[in-house]
Amino acid sequence: MKKLIGLVLLLALLAFSLPAQKADMNAGAGAVSPQTPLPPLPLRFDHYYPLDQVYEALRLLNKTYPALTTLEEVGKSDEGRPLMAMTVNNPKTGPALGKPGVYVDGNIHGNEIQGGEIALYLLDYLLGNYGKNEEVTALVDRTSFYVVPVVNVDGRYHFFADPNDPSSNRGLRIPTDDDHDGLIDEDGPDDLDGDGNICMMRKRDPFGAYKTDPEDPRPMVPVKPGEKGEWTILGEEGIDNDGDGKINEDGPGYVDPNRNWGFDWAPPYVQSGSGEYPFRGIGLKALAEWTATKTNIVIGWTFHNNGGMILRGPSRKAVGEFPAPDVAVYDYLGKQAERIVPGYRYLITWKDLYTTYGDSLEWLTQTQGAYGFVAEVFPAESEAFRGASEKPEAPAGEPGLGAMLSGGISERDRLKFNDYLAMGELYKPWKPFKHPAYGDIEIGGWVKMSSRLSAPFMLKDLVHRNAMSVIFTAKNAPAVSLEVTDVKALGRNLYRVRTRLANSKAIPSMSALAQKNNIYPKDMLKVTGDSAKVLEGGLINDPYLDLIAYKKYRPELQFTSVPGFGKVEHQFLVEGKGTITVSYDSRHAGKITKTVELK
């Protein structure tokens, strides 16, 4: 059973969509008006925000902090809902593009809603503490934040509005003929008992493969050879809408929004759910085009649930491990994030989780040149029901992905958590139902707002810690200083000028990967003067032995990058007099200008 849970979880994460019944597709499309007015700021994190409240919260933040925020509609979703992004920047300290950019998104999978709350919390925290807390103020003054709380706006809308299970409504609302029968989205699950949840169906069957757990009347366990069965599990709530002998095999969608990005995209027979072509998702394409204009994005975070993981790329082995200097940066940041969010593990996507093609992490890393992390929030251990002196249960079955995702927490444990900490709200006890095809059955099991979602009382802790991971990495965005270390007169109007670019933070001014793939120009260091001419210029390999790698053409312009916690030094031979200007221009580390007298 544990092995089974692991595998089911794993497959659910991979691709399975067992989506809800056909929803009124126009309901709420484009609607931004709130159902209920929001309380004043700060925002509360003891509940989850339906999509319209997310929009409203963003508007409230924007209205409250107009000087620091810009709220933009990046584009429209496949069903026409606005995809909103908030930029946090202090224009008094310079334009957003002139500072290191931190990109944060959430809820790209429609059901993985916590990301939306983490993004809102981060915004609320940064803005609310600006001018109050010195560190936050300094961070906001030198960094721009690009925050997209809900990427899959249609998914979030339908997850709240429609009957669902915890894993459904993950995908984009792109009609897809999942069962390949020429009819589209014609047989999704049905909320037979009308309780707003898609639960499980079971039928009493002496030949069934399951029996009631002897310790708890709710879960079932597989029968052992020779034992009498009690139950056959019929799958999720639903009927055979199209009469093809299958139940719930073609629900709304399904294109996985995190497999449809342009980098390393693969067709659906290679990568399930990838969509007919890269950026088939209209909102995704708009978002990608929007982020492409944010050339300063140096760090990217994208929030998912669940399992308690801080993942870095590559997402696929064949894409190739990142260059060693980048790995060192990831390790530094990732290991610290593990401590900030206890119970989370810092892992490599393809190696420790699974292979994906066309995901947004790889897009951020490979085409934007950012350092990207995916956080799979909410480890299963959060729902352990165990005293401090009690031994942890043995890990579930064999070690592996399933065990990692289930965290060694059994269904019995989780039911006790439901009983004693959630007052039974996470699980529907089995109730009889008359099914048109199966006759007398029972419906029950975990409800929509369970399993992958933290109970609201734990939400505040979850959003705070994850936001702090973002803030830790943001603090490590490159902070480059420029110093003219030496001006030495060599006679005959000739001067030797030495410069130093130093980075006091962990993240380099350009990733080694971006340099390797030549995706955008490197940082530029330029020496100019009205009455001065640069005769030679180059990188100082050794200042003591005077080993300079001179650049033959255009010596006044040097292409460079500044490593994390490191420096680069250049030497110029300048002929002339008066003032010279040394300027540094970096996509990720901003611009600096210094002037110095030749004397």
Binding site: L4, L7, V8, L10, L11, L14, L18, M25, R173, P175, D177, H180, D181, G182, L183, I184, D185, E186, I233, L234, G238, N241, D242, G243, D244, K246, I247, E249, W261, G262, A266, P267, P268, Y269, V270, S272, E276, Y277, P278, F279, R280, K317, Y354, T355, Y357, Q366, E398, G400, L401, G402, N517, N518, I519, Y520, P521, K522, M524, K552, R554, L557
Partner: protein, 722 residues
């Protein structure tokens, strides 16, 4: 900046000179044509006198705007069955106009919205029922002849109603109009990139260092500069051609080569960052090359390519594609031999997954075995497909044509060669270049699962190699006696000396005297020969350039190759400018266009005839009493091509044949209302059976439906309970 419109007239003139064609079109037509093209977007184009397709002439090449104007003329003249629509606008501001010809131009084929059984019928009624053929021409924009071929094809279809009675034709004459415009622009240069700004050299400026026509001949050719570090040398015997010096042959380079121009940005590089961004022709997802200099950031990054991916998704009626360009899948089947393709009969399961599956990571499994392993682990209600498992195990993409599909490619290749022979176009010519990674033709086969064909229409004739006179080798010489050597005679000895690379003054007469006089003998000569530097060889010369030179001298009066002439370069000093003329190797003189197209374009119709065609061969009803009948429907594919390709069976992109049975009040006892037949090979038949019951006499309608292989229906009358 629109290059072609800025310097249009001189560009054309240069071309006209170059290919010695007669001037047929007036330059004033260009702005008018452009205006017409931009009218394509508007719902009601300004009324124009209808132009009959016969006014099209194929004695010249048509610039992008003229191609569009021709399509609009066709649509205007034939509103009942021709439509022109704009797919996208290139970064250079040129419309990609798509021509649609067929009986269903009024019907949309767009993806239906979320639906259920209730509106399925309605959607089916508005969707196209006939299959379509898609022709994508000049995707790299470097092959003007391919655009002419597309126009020619359109004219043939307009002229012959029988060609358009039962299918839709989509014809895109130019998928990369920015690049194509270069052919009509002075100075003449060839570049497959569209005009999206791109910082090729990753410096502080964009598109700042393109080529210049220094010698003012209207052509961007090659600069050769004498340089001790040069890698290039003249080809012995053909001093106009250059080859890379091979040190192993004792060769030393004397030239550096650059394209014609100056170093505008002073970085020591010449023409390294000119106008041009992405090669549209290689911007499709199959084997897309990331980080290539002209690849684009992702497959579909360009408006041109993205619009085509979107179109193909929305138009599932397309069942066959042709690319007109430089490759030829009709002559040579798509190539295989790429590494890294998973064998579905020998799959290894990684250790970390094997335990969950209960599998042995050390051995291999078939896909069917893995499916069996996974099924019991999956709760009911979940479906597992091969593609899901393949994705999970990272089996990756198919990269070589599947054997079943190669069968039809090979068969059609033989037939095409006969076709060319009949049309007297089977002369020996250079091989068309192989398919490119990221191309439309590969995407169409591997991702869309369609029979994907490509046609080129011309390459340079093969040069007949003159056999070098047989020279005597050192080894042979060593074994010769004096007399045997002298018996060769003066002529042969001279030839041998020349071949051996002996100094000029070393003549046969002298050598004969020396051998006679005993100062020299064959053995000694063999030793000397072995010590001598190897003679320069013509090996390493580009066969295409050789063929071009021969073609230029013979057919173009030398206009295909610029003779090297000295030039004073502002930065490089004394140089020479010359070399191959762009397009001369892939674009024949206009007088040849019609002949080449007439004999090759109709092959498209031969292939189109072989498209799979689904028919109901027979419907049988056997009464088994009490109004119960066994219904047997035989569904056949009367086409030669399979329904669908093996690739489509692998990637599951093409729907099965859907066979339905409907009649008022009938009850299906056994069988499904929608019976799915996944595949029917060429000329093959498959059977679907039902048991139904009807108390009353009833008419039962049997339908077999496909999106790309037509559809068929039959009515069956049943007597009911008597």
């Amino acid at each position: 900046m629109n290059h072609s419109q800025r310097v249009l007239t001189p560009g054309r003139l240069a071309l006209i000179c170059l290919l010695s064609l007669t001037l047929q079109f007036s330059d004033a037509s260009q702005p008018a044509a452009a205006a017409q093209a931009s009218a394509a977007q508007k719902p009601a184009p300004a009324p124009q006198p209808p132009a009959s397709p016969s006014s099209l002439s194929f004695d010249r090449y048509h610039a992008p705007a003229e191609l569009n104007a021709a399509l609009l003329d066709m649509a205007r003249a034939n509103p009942g069955f021709v439509r022109a629509q704009s797919l996208a606008k290139s970064p250079g501001g040129r419309e990609l106009l798509l021509l649609e010809i067929g009986p269903e131009i009024g019907k949309t084929a767009h993806s239906p919205q979320p639906t259920n059984l209730a509106n399925a019928e309605q959607i089916a009624a508005s969707a196209k029922s006939l299959p379509a053929v898609f022709i994508a021409a000049n995707m790299e924009g470097t092959v003007p002849l391919s655009s002419e071929a597309a126009l020619y094809l359109a004219r043939l279809i307009l002229q012959k109603p029988e060609l358009r009675s039962d299918r839709t034709w989509y014809i895109l004459p130019c998928g990369n109009p920015d690049a194509d415009s270069l052919f009509f622009t002075k100075p003449l240069r060839q570049d497959p990139r569209n005009f999206k700004p791109h910082n090729d050299d990753m410096d502080d400026q964009v598109d700042e260092d393109g080529p210049e026509d220094l010698n003012g001949d209207g052509i961007i050719s090659t600069m050769r500069v004498k340089d001790p570090e040069g890698e290039w040398m003249p080809v012995p015997g053909q001093p106009r051609l250059l080859k890379r010096a091979d040190w192993a042959k004792g060769e030393k380079g004397i030239y550096k080569l650059y394209s014609e121009g100056i170093d505008n940005d002073g970085d020591g590089l010449y023409n390294e960052d000119g106008l041009g961004g992405v090669n549209v022709g290689t911007n499709f997802p199959h084997l897309f090359k990331f980080f290539g200099p002209d690849s684009g950031a992702w497959p579909g990054s360009e408006a041109e390519s993205f619009s085509l991916m979107k179109f193909m998704d929305e138009h599932r009626e397309v069942g066959l594609t042709f690319v007109f360009g430089e490759t030829n899948f009709c002559l040579n089947p798509p190539r295989g031999g790429r590494k890294g393709q998973a064998d579905l009969n020998q799959i290894k399961i990684p250790e970390r997954i094997a335990s969950a599956f209960g599998a042995d990571p050390a051995r291999t499994y078939t896909m069917a075995e893995i499916m069996e392993m996974v099924k019991p682990l999956i709760p009911p209600g979940m479906d597992v497909t091969e593609s899901m498992i393949a994705g999970f195990l990272e089996l990756g993409a198919v990269v070589n044509p599947l054997d079943d599909d190669l069968k039809f490619y090979k068969e059609l290749s033989e037939k095409f060669k006969e076709f060319l022979k009949t049309n007297k176009l089977d002369g020996k010519r250079l091989d068309p270049p192989p398919d490119k990674d990221g191309s439309f033709e590969l995407w169409s086969y591997y991702h869309l699962g369609l029979p994907s064909f490509a046609l080129d229409f011309w390459t340079l004739p093969e040069v007949k190699e003159e056999k070098a006179p047989e020279a005597i080798t050192a080894d042979q010489l060593e074994k010769m006696t004096k007399d045997e050597f002298l018996a060769l005679g003066e002529e042969k000895i001279d030839a041998f000396l020349k071949a051996a690379g002996a100094p000029e003054q070393f003549k046969a007469k002298q050598v004969i005297e020396m051998v006679k006089g005993g100062q020299l003998d064959p053995k000694k000569m063999a030793e000397m020969m072995k010590q001598m530097p190897k003679p320069p060889s013509a090996e390493g010369a580009d066969p295409k350039e050789k063929a071009l030179l021969a073609w230029s001298d013979k057919e173009l009066g030398g206009k295909g190759f610029v003779d090297w002439k000295p030039f004073k370069h502002p930065q490089l000093g004394d140089i020479e400018i010359g070399g191959p003329v762009p397009y001369a190797d892939n674009t024949p003189p206009p007088a040849m266009i019609e002949g080449l197209l007439k004999g090759q374009v109709p092959w498209v119709f031969e292939v189109a005839k072989k498209m799979p065609r689904i028919k109901i061969a027979s419907v049988e009803a056997k009464s088994i009493g009490q109004g119960v009948y066994e219904i047997k429907v035989r569904v056949e594919n009367t086409g030669a091509l399979p329904y669908p390709t093996a690739m489509a069976r692998r990637n599951e992109r093409i729907l099965p044949v859907i066979v339905t049975l409907e009649g008022p009040g009938i009850k299906i006892v056994d069988g499904k209302k929608r019976t799915l037949i996944p595949a029917i090979p060429g000329f093959a038949t498959q059977t679907a059976t039902w048991i139904i019951q009807s108390d009353k006499p009833v008419k039962v309608e049997v339908k077999a439906e496909t999106q790309i292989a037509w559809r068929d229906a039959r009515t069956l009358e049943l007597g009911g309970v008597k």
